[in-house]
Symmetry: C2
Subunit: 454 residues, 2 copies
Amino acid sequence: MPAETQAQQTAIDHLEHLNQALDSGLFVHVREMLHHMAPADIAHILESSPPKTRQILWQLVDHAHSGEILEELGEDMKDQLISLMSPTHLAKVTAGMDTDDLAYVLRSLPDSLYRQVLQSMSVQDRTRVEQALSYPDDTAGSLMNTDTVTIRPDVNIDVVLRYLRQRGELPKATDTLYVVDHQDCLLGGVTLAQLLTYSSSTGIISIMNRQLESIPVTMTDSEVAKLFERHDWLSAPVVDDKGKLLGRITIDDVVDVIREDAEHSLMGMAGMDDAEDTFGPVLKSAGRRSLWLSLNLLTALLAASVSNLFEGTLEKFATVAILMTIVPSMGGVAGNQTLVLVIRGIALGHLGQRNTRWLIVKELLIGVLNGLLWAGLIFIAVWLWKHDVTLGLLIAGAMLVNLTAAGLAGAVIPILLKKLHIDPALAGGMVLTTVTDVVGLFAFLGLATLFLGH
Amino acid sequence: MPAETQAQQTAIDHLEHLNQALDSGLFVHVREMLHHMAPADIAHILESSPPKTRQILWQLVDHAHSGEILEELGEDMKDQLISLMSPTHLAKVTAGMDTDDLAYVLRSLPDSLYRQVLQSMSVQDRTRVEQALSYPDDTAGSLMNTDTVTIRPDVNIDVVLRYLRQRGELPKATDTLYVVDHQDCLLGGVTLAQLLTYSSSTGIISIMNRQLESIPVTMTDSEVAKLFERHDWLSAPVVDDKGKLLGRITIDDVVDVIREDAEHSLMGMAGMDDAEDTFGPVLKSAGRRSLWLSLNLLTALLAASVSNLFEGTLEKFATVAILMTIVPSMGGVAGNQTLVLVIRGIALGHLGQRNTRWLIVKELLIGVLNGLLWAGLIFIAVWLWKHDVTLGLLIAGAMLVNLTAAGLAGAVIPILLKKLHIDPALAGGMVLTTVTDVVGLFAFLGLATLFLGH
């Protein structure tokens, strides 16, 4: 696609030019180039650079824009760069940030630095951010901004228009003004489009949307994202349990949540942290991945100890050893398909009490069908290869058992994990592989031991 | 979290109530309940229901809302329900749809039905949709709507306000009016917020954003999504290669693209189609998953044929057979971690020519480090278990070789696949497992054959 090539070209061109300038030590030139780039594009280049280049670039960036750049970066990168900055610099940079990003930066600071930064802020900024920090991470409260524009119900559009002209610029992504009473309780909303299309004598009370849905400040951010997606909202008001307007959430922050949730699932399935920085330091990356590998080693040793139970059979029949990896492997792949489907169903909120049972039965049936199909095919393959009907029947039997178990396990494991409050995207794959390895080996080696004689 | 429970409860409550009413045959009651629900919520309930319930529900849905419900559904479900509808019904339903959704529905129809539906439409709708159909799927053209509101540069805000009041309601998610010349070429944009905050005598030409970025109609939808994410846009104008305004893309459609791309990666890694319907029919699901399982069978047979080369060793040493699954398993997990990281890097557009080499070296180094670590640990484990130093050293050597190969393969495979225009998220895992299985078995069985004597 020419369009794609063009857009990606620009970003990569920038990077190549910057790198050439860096290599030649033309730092003034680099500073000049960075000065003319949008914060989002600088963030992109920082994320695409190895650690050393990154540090140099960060020092050459215009200090006035560092806050905006920080807002655009992934968590791991944000933490890295923050650790390079002095408290006064941090306080200066954070002055212009959105409340939610500001709270994030402060949350990630060590205690002493946190106090220093807070003290170097203006009283207004400090109050604003201290409130934001009082809401738990990953809730609507931590996602919202307090920059709502509110109006009273008993005025007409003309009054609102005069107020807005006097007020000047609206906060970015404002599509709705919130109508509140004297206690700041949310009564409804009026869109900018309504203000522009109704006659100026219209009373706010007669056009405001009283059914405007509001988000409880304690709702989880994933739940907020689902509501935005389902209702195609651009922004939504956030209220406390008494209906008092606290702030608003805008779609751009929700898009970040959707992206993070998606990356969390994708990276989590491979046992990685979604904050993992592609160009992060080698030792840190290696360390982080060890937990997953150590769990896998335990699984692999467990599988080996199952094989160990059938040492006698393995000693006598080398062919059994040669074929014994096939059944666990097929079980792993089939089970993983079911697992991913069910994890997605949970994430989308599709699974209730009644349809869960239906889904488990469905996946079990698919397991049996797959089992019959692949049992037949593996029988033919082994018979053609090893000219041994008994061995073919044994591996076919084991295949049927394991693929049925895989269908059942793939459906039941994520549902059980969810009930135990363990993230299925993170733990599901490992638990599943353990089941399909153990069942697969038990079935094949067990059948071989029973029927091949001692 | 109480908030999450509450929101999910509502959806599941609805479902339970509906199911009870369906079971008791109270169809009038079900129809009444559906009548009071938002289209997005009905879509959610349809997606959460097994096939039979789904068909009954669809027949009970208010025909006036079927179009809106269709817009909210996943592709697989959309196709299922469309196949249940008559051409006249389809034509009626599609009359009120957004251009992009309408084009989708028509694209999925068989040729004869397509003509019938098109003929039952009004001339205006037909022209509109025929244009939308002329753009390839997965491009900005297929994503855009033609409901732009345009103004001329040579008027002032007062004129625009009078025009808007006369015009009435604005298309949903309108945040910007587009300024065009007599040839409909895009000159810039004026936001609703600007219209509300500037004095009414201000000329459009003096406040319009001339730097407004526009999207070429041929750009891929993933590229469009990246631009929206990076710049926090709510909407963006779409132009042809001469700069003529063709339509606009809104963030709600972009959110769907982001969600679909994410699901595509997640489901693709397990060899599933992202359109896969969680509650779809058993036979169809089983069939769809077979391709992946057949590829895996070939991989497993290839691995078995590697073991077969070392039949002599396996015959003499059953312990080798017992331990031989450990090294491939560790290689698979370690390689998959690198693979997922690199696939994400490619998806985010982070990988250029220069940093790719850096990344491959980094992942190779992590492979060596991991290799040394797990070689040490497996040596200890095997030594404690089997009291055999030689065997411990052999498996440790194989582990080092395979984890190094896994790091290298995990980084190189997705980059190579991308160059060959094969989706790395889809094919990467299978290719990687083949490499780590074959290298792992070759290394361990090869070393065992060399050093354990014949």
